[in-house]
Structures are given as structure tokens and as C-alpha cells.
């Protein structure tokens, strides 16, 4: 996707579906592989319009080498709009959450869920072995996994 003259990678959610819900064990089993990224020098207004036009709520901020610098959530945007008089002049690096909590592809799902709930966050960038962003795990991904599990449990109960 081309946004202005700078490249912004944006894509529809693409979630792994290889395992039945009762078999999901690792972050890699349910994470969203395509992420929306911006670089730190993008303007705040670009982050706002990206999010207002589409359905995702999190943008990962990376450097040119793919190393994670921060995350911008819809919550960060709300806070900035409410508290910052000259928000038009801010750039992404000034409003992002720096050094966000992250997980690895092979982090157990229960650990990732506990992190999201206890830290009151809605997304965890997923890092590969080189520390590069390879996906994002959102509360929506987790809710989908739970919903599938609940349906399996319901039908299993009905069959008893």
C-alpha cells in the first residue's frame, strides 16, 4: 500500500489456521502474520488516518532493519488528541510506546494471554530469532482462538 510517497505495509488479517482450536499451543498458532508498520519519522496525522480508515488498532514502529522501536495503539492516539495542543506537529516517534512488551513465536499462548490481560494492552509484537518483527498477536486473535475452542466444547457437550 502506498501512502503519500512513503511505503506503508498494510494488509488484511491473515491468521494461521493449521491447527484445530483445542490444539493451539504457541503464539505462532494464532498470531496475525501481516503487520502494519510505520517508521518513526512518519507524521502523527498519518497514523491517525491509517487507523481511522481501517479496522486495525495497532501499528508497529520499526527501524530500517526491521528491529522494533515501538507500538502505536488507538489508545495512544486518543490520549495524544486529548492532551496535546499541537498534535499536528508531532511525529510517530513522539507518541509511540517505546520498548513495548513482546513475545516470541514459541511463547505459550497462556503466557501471552496473561501478559495482555495483566499489562492492560491489546497487542504483542511477535519477534523471530533475530529479534525482527514477524507478526503481531492481538486480543482479537486470541478472542478468535477462544471462540473456536468454546464452540468445540459446546458441540462436544451437546454430543454427550
Amino acid at each position: 500500500m502506498n501512502h503519500g510517497n512513503r511505503e506503508i505495509k498494510a494488509d488484511e488479517a491473515l491468521t494461521a489456521q493449521s491447527e484445530p482450536a483445542g490444539r493451539y499451543k504457541w503464539v505462532a498458532d494464532v498470531m496475525t502474520r501481516k503487520t502494519v508498520t510505520l517508521s518513526p519519522h512518519h507524521g502523527f496525522a498519518e497514523a491517525v488516518s491509517l487507523m481511522a480508515d481501517r479496522h486495525f488498532r495497532h501499528i508497529v514502529v520499526v527501524d530500517t532493519g526491521g528491529q522494533i522501536l515501538g507500538v502505536i495503539s488507538d489508545r495512544d492516539i486518543l490520549r495524544t488528541l486529548a492532551r496535546t495542543a499541537n498534535w499536528q506537529t508531532k511525529d510517530v516517534s513522539q507518541i509511540m510506546t517505546r520498548d513495548p512488551f513482546t513475545v516470541r513465536r514459541d511463547t505459550p499462548l497462556s503466557v501471552a494471554v496473561a501478559k495482555i490481560v495483566s499489562k492492560r494492552i491489546n497487542c504483542l509484537p511477535v519477534l523471530d530469532d533475530e529479534g525482527k518483527v514477524c507478526g503481531i498477536l492481538t486480543s482479537t486473535d486470541l478472542l478468535k482462538a477462544y471462540q473456536k475452542l468454546l464452540e468445540s466444547l459446546d458441540s462436544n457437550r451437546a454430543a454427550l
Binding site: P20, A21, G22, R23, Y24, K25, V48, A52, H55, D74, R75, I77, L78, R79, L81, A82, R83, P108, L109, S110, V113, A114, I116, V117, R120, S139, T140, L142, L143, K144, A145, Y146, Q147, L149, L150, E151, S152, L153, D154, N156, R157, L160
Partner: protein
Amino acid sequence: MDIAAANNLSTDDPGTTFSATCVADIMSTHLVTLSAHHTFGEAVQLMTNSPFRHFLVVHADGRLAGVFSDRDVLRALGRTPNWQAKNVSGVMTHQVFTVTPETPLSVAASEMLSRRINCLPVIGKDGKVCGIITSTDLLQSYQKIQASLENHLGDTRAGSV
């Protein structure tokens, strides 16, 4: 066998996992509510000073008027030139999908996902608001059962691989 294992967790491992099945099992009954005539500024102030992202807007008789969420605030700030002049009823979501305490959790979760919302007001038999179920409530419930499932999967894979 994994689903069967999940169903049997409470009997296999006494005291470890209670598998929640309906809204009443995990809903919150402690509610922070707003009135429709609160100003937009008051509501935003309440939200930024609160851990909650959703506020039920309730009529004086206890019936639901709407839901005021952080998403509504974002939308209003982005699209409404005179947002300072609005009150809660001018910004809140009026057509709200609700559940009852007896609604299965699988239905609550799928409604949240398909409607792209994070909270469902719970309405009792008397037609009044009796609780709220949020995506966080669901994730807490998921965390418990998932942790137990992982233990079972770990045993299974260690034995078979």
C-alpha cells in the same frame, strides 16, 4: 481427544480449572455508568482517568440507553468539528447488541468478533442492565482453560513425539 480433555479438565484435575460456559459465569456486575446528558468533555475525562474503556449509558429507570466507548471518542474527535458542544447521547452508540446472563460464551465471543466490539451489556429478565461482559473478561477466562490445555498437550506430545 484434546477437546474431550478440555471438557474433562475439572474432573481430571480437581480444583484446577472451571470451564466457564455462559455469560453469567464471567460477567462484571460492578458497573460505572453515565447519563445521556453528561457532556462529552466529562465523559472523556472520566475515561482517561479510568481503567475502563466502555461505559454503559443508563436511563433513570435502569434501562440501557447506549454504550459510550473509547472508539466513539476517537470517531467523534476525528469527524465532528464541534465535538466540544456534544453531550454523551450525541456521541454514544445507540443501537447496542446485548446478551442475557444465560447466553453461551461462544455466542458472546462470536458476536463481539463479528460486530467488532469489545463489550456487551447484559440485560436481566426485568429488562434492566445487570452487568457487562468485555473482551478482557473473555480473555481472562481463556487464559485459565488454555493453561490447562497446554499442560495436557504437553503431556500428549511428550509421550507421542
